[in-house]
Amino acid sequence: MVREITNNNFDAVRNAPFAVVDFNATWCGPCRMLGPIIDELSDEMDDVEFFSCDVDDNGDLALVFGIQSIPAVGVFKNGKLVDMSVGFKPKAAMEHFISTHA
């Protein structure tokens, strides 16, 4: 399951040992393609908590994390950003990107 971030509320990510945040927007083509892949991974990667962050609804967070191009997928360990992947990746490549931080 992918949890939606609203009102710039990042607490759930800060409190998670291992979290993935998909920064996206409704108008972004590659984001719409990546969405279902993130959904599938969230069902398959049990030890990772997945979040979706619409940059239009959460402008402050986008600014804090310096989001310049979307989709951008951030890996957070204990609330700290450790890596960011910018752009679409096929499922296997995205899974690899995330699991290197396991």
Binding site: G29, P30, G66, S69, V86, G87, K91, A93
Partner: protein, 286 residues
């Protein structure tokens, strides 16, 4: 939405050969490219080594290809493919603002000529963008630069000017957009993209410009930009003798699949790629 059996990107000899073979095998095809076919092709002075055609000019060769497409009832869908997304059991093809779908894809888009600007690669996605329609809305009220290499670039710049605060347009090889209050045309030669964590400055032969994003709009892009996740070898997509890539269902043919850059080799590879796509479709039971 129709999900085509085979999408073919490129209307040079490789793409056309793939289309002819796929059509012969009764597959539904989406041939994406230019109705004028490959501009590189029509410019060729003379071709001497294409079996069956004696000393033919590039323009005459292109004319024969067009006639052959017409005879086979194959139409060319005009449009530039921004990206191909491997979704697992199908592919999404971003063409302008549209997303088209196909079960297999043959990339025959030609090889990118010319070099990237220093810093372009490094800052791609971090202050450098290849797609105005994708990323424009991240820059409301901001200052952006547009490097217009492609024919469509001027239109994209006008679109950007509706959203961004200021557009600095550098015409590289394209039509000049309409100048307006927030669209300025600068006849300078871009030299380098500079920045720290993200790109912030475009250096030209005449000075430096501070920007929030630099849009580099080219006709062709590097293969890994066109198909995120594809394995490459320099400017080429890595293929085996069946023209398969590392992504199941994705094939490449022609110049983008490696040297030599020859029409007869491109046509042969297009044929192999189409047959490989047909057998992939059979095995997938689709």
């Amino acid at each position: 939405m129709e999900r085509y059996d085979i999408a073919i990107i490129g209307t040079g000899p490789a793409g056309i050969s793939a289309a002819l073979t796929a059509k012969n095998r009764n597959k539904s095809i989406l041939l994406l490219g230019s109705a004028a076919l490959s501009p590189k092709l029509t410019k060729a002075h003379r071709i001497d080594n294409y079996p069956g055609l004696t000393q033919i000019t590039g323009a005459d060769f292109a004319q024969k290809l067009r006639e052959q497409l017409d005879t086979m009832g194959i139409t060319v869908t005009e449009g530039q493919v921004g990206a191909v997304y491997a979704m697992g059991d199908y592919f999404g093809l971003q063409v302008g603002e549209e997303m088209l779908e196909a079960k297999t894809v043959i990339v025959a888009a030609g090889v990118m000529q010319g070099k990237l600007l220093p810093g372009e690669d490094r800052y791609l996605g971090r202050g450098v963008s290849y797609c105005a329609t994708c990323d424009a809305r991240l820059y409301p009220g901001k200052t952006v630069a547009v490097l217009g290499y492609s024919a469509e670039a001027s239109k994209e710049a006008e679109f950007l000017a509706e959203i961004a605060g200021k557009v600095l347009y550098f015409p590289m090889n394209s039509a000049i957009p309409k100048e307006s209050e927030n669209l300025v045309i600068l006849h300078e030669k871009p030299q380098e993209i500079l920045g720290d964590k993200t790109a912030g400055t475009l250096r030209t032969d005449q000075g430096e410009h501070k920007t929030d994003c630099i849009f580099v709009l080219r006709d062709a892009v590097m293969p890994e930009t066109l198909v995120p996740g594809v394995e490459t070898d320099g400017p080429h997509i890595r293929v085996n003798l069946q023209m398969q890539t590392n992504i199941p269902g994705l094939f490449a043919a022609g110049d983008i699949a490696g040297k030599p850059y020859q029409y007869v080799k491109a046509a042969g590879q297009g044929n192999v790629a189409a047959l490989s796509a047909v057998s992939y479709l059979q095995n997938a039971g689709k």
